[in-house]
Amino acid sequence: METVLEISGLTKLYKNGRGIFDINLNIYKGDVFGFLGPNGAGKTTAMKIMTGLMLPDSGDVKIFGHSVLTEFEKAMNKVGCIIETAESYPYLSPYENLKLFARFYDDIDNSRIDEVLELTGILKFKNEKVKNFSLGMKQRLGIAAAILSKPELIILDEPLNGLDVEGMIEMRKLIKMLAENERTTFFISSHLIHDVELTCNRIGILYNGKVVNVDTTENILKNFASLENYFVSEVGKNGNV
């Protein structure tokens, strides 16, 4: 199995004593990895370090064999991501936003921009200013930006934030379609356990800044009635829910 993302000994401690401690994790090609954890467990911190937004106190993250600390451009070349919130420039249209992002990659033409806008359902708004968009539409644009360069690894922090039920179903379909047809690897954090259960094939649980368990969804569902039961059980072993 080809390792796409390798997290080793990742530690980041905040002044308030919280943070992440010695996280070790391998994500393999074709994984749709669900990163679960209660609020404040350290999911976003880990994802920020993975994408170069934050420096760790110690440890390293390698993406396709390249360290994000020392070979950032190579590491991020085949990565698309949304971290914390899907941001875009409000004074530009979705089309203009994507045009800006496209400049960082080779071979992204206007038809690819239209294609991702169509996939995320905002093609008809392509020339409207983003400042007039709802949270859900901004989230769709964020996802369009994340998949624009046909990345081999997509890191999504709460990708369903702000989406309505229809949007959630469409996003789930999109993730499954990309994972099956393009063999895209996903690293997804979400607090929507049911959605993670339906979308992800491997699950990792982060609690109090530590990875407490990693297993396949198939295995988990053999032993537990639902992912929620598994989550409660794993978190219960390590503290209180």
């Binding site: 451009e73 990565v79 971290i83």
Partner: protein, 250 residues
């Protein structure tokens, strides 16, 4: 180089798409109008010729470089750094395959591009106005001096801009940086008046560096000395600003 070019084009596009640049352009044009009104008023009132067609652009430059240009350079520099941090849009570019050193340099290059574009626009318009409204004294040498005066002004303005860039990477609030920049601008000007012997240390006193390029015998020693002081400012604040930018957690 490819990613630097992409980052630079994006930064220029972002600056150009904001209303501040339009306001800067309008106010710069206002500097030309004010300059022309001043010249016309003195000409008519006293029967004097105060500015020939080649002197007029220099008069406008002196107005521009001590008022509108530093103000809008500060606003653009703050927008490019503090503005993006506070609106959370900095992470859009930081999560693309471009290193922080390239992004930082691209942002500063975009600010320099804005300053230069502003200077060149005012230069061309003031030359045109000079030819139309003032007495004609066209010479290639005179025009070359005007072009040189406008272009060399980029250096002191960028030295000041890099101080603002550094502050934008140290302080969280763009408003605080803006007021601090104004205080700094006033303080530097006041200190260079109180301590004229040390005026060169206070960078704003070098905004009229173009004057040294515009005299009959160029004072080479003074010109080089002032250039090295500005280069010192540029190196110090570029490096310190980058250190802060690189270490910043989002």
């Amino acid at each position: 180089m490819g990613t630097f070019k992409a980052a630079f084009i994006n930064e220029v596009e972002k600056i150009y798409r904001k209303k501040k640049v339009v306001v800067a352009a309008i106010l710069s044009l206002l500097a030309i109008v004010m300059g022309q009104l001043l010249v016309t008023g003195v000409n008519k009132g006293f029967g004097l010729i105060t500015a020939s067609s080649t002197q007029f652009p220099i008069l406008v430059l002196s107005l521009l470089v001590n008022t509108i240009l530093p103000l809008f350079t500060a606003l653009v520099a703050i927008d490019v750094f503090s503005g993006e941090f506070s609106h959370n849009t900095m992470k859009i570019t930081l999560t693309r395959p471009v290193s922080r050193v390239k992004l930082y340099t691209a942002k500063i290059s975009a600010i320099a591009f804005f300053v230069l574009a502003n200077l060149l626009m005012v230069m061309l318009l003031s030359l045109a106005v000079g030819f139309i409204f003032n007495s004609v004294s066209l010479s290639v040498f005179g025009i070359l001096r005007i072009v040189l005066s406008y272009i060399v002004t980029l250096i002191p303005v960028m030295s000041f801009a890099l101080i603002i860039v550094f502050l934008s990477n140290v302080l969280k609030s763009g408003t605080t940086v803006f007021f601090l920049s104004i205080i700094l601008f006033i303080a530097f000007n006041a200190l260079s008046l109180v301590f004229p012997r040390y005026a060169n240390i206070f960078i704003t006193s070098m905004f009229d560096w173009y004057i040294l390029w515009n005299v009959d015998t160029i004072p080479l020693g003074k010109l080089i000395r002032e250039f090295f002081i500005m280069a010192g400012y540029v190196i110090m604040f570029y490096t310190a600003g980058y250190y802060m930018f690189d270490k910043k957690d989002l």
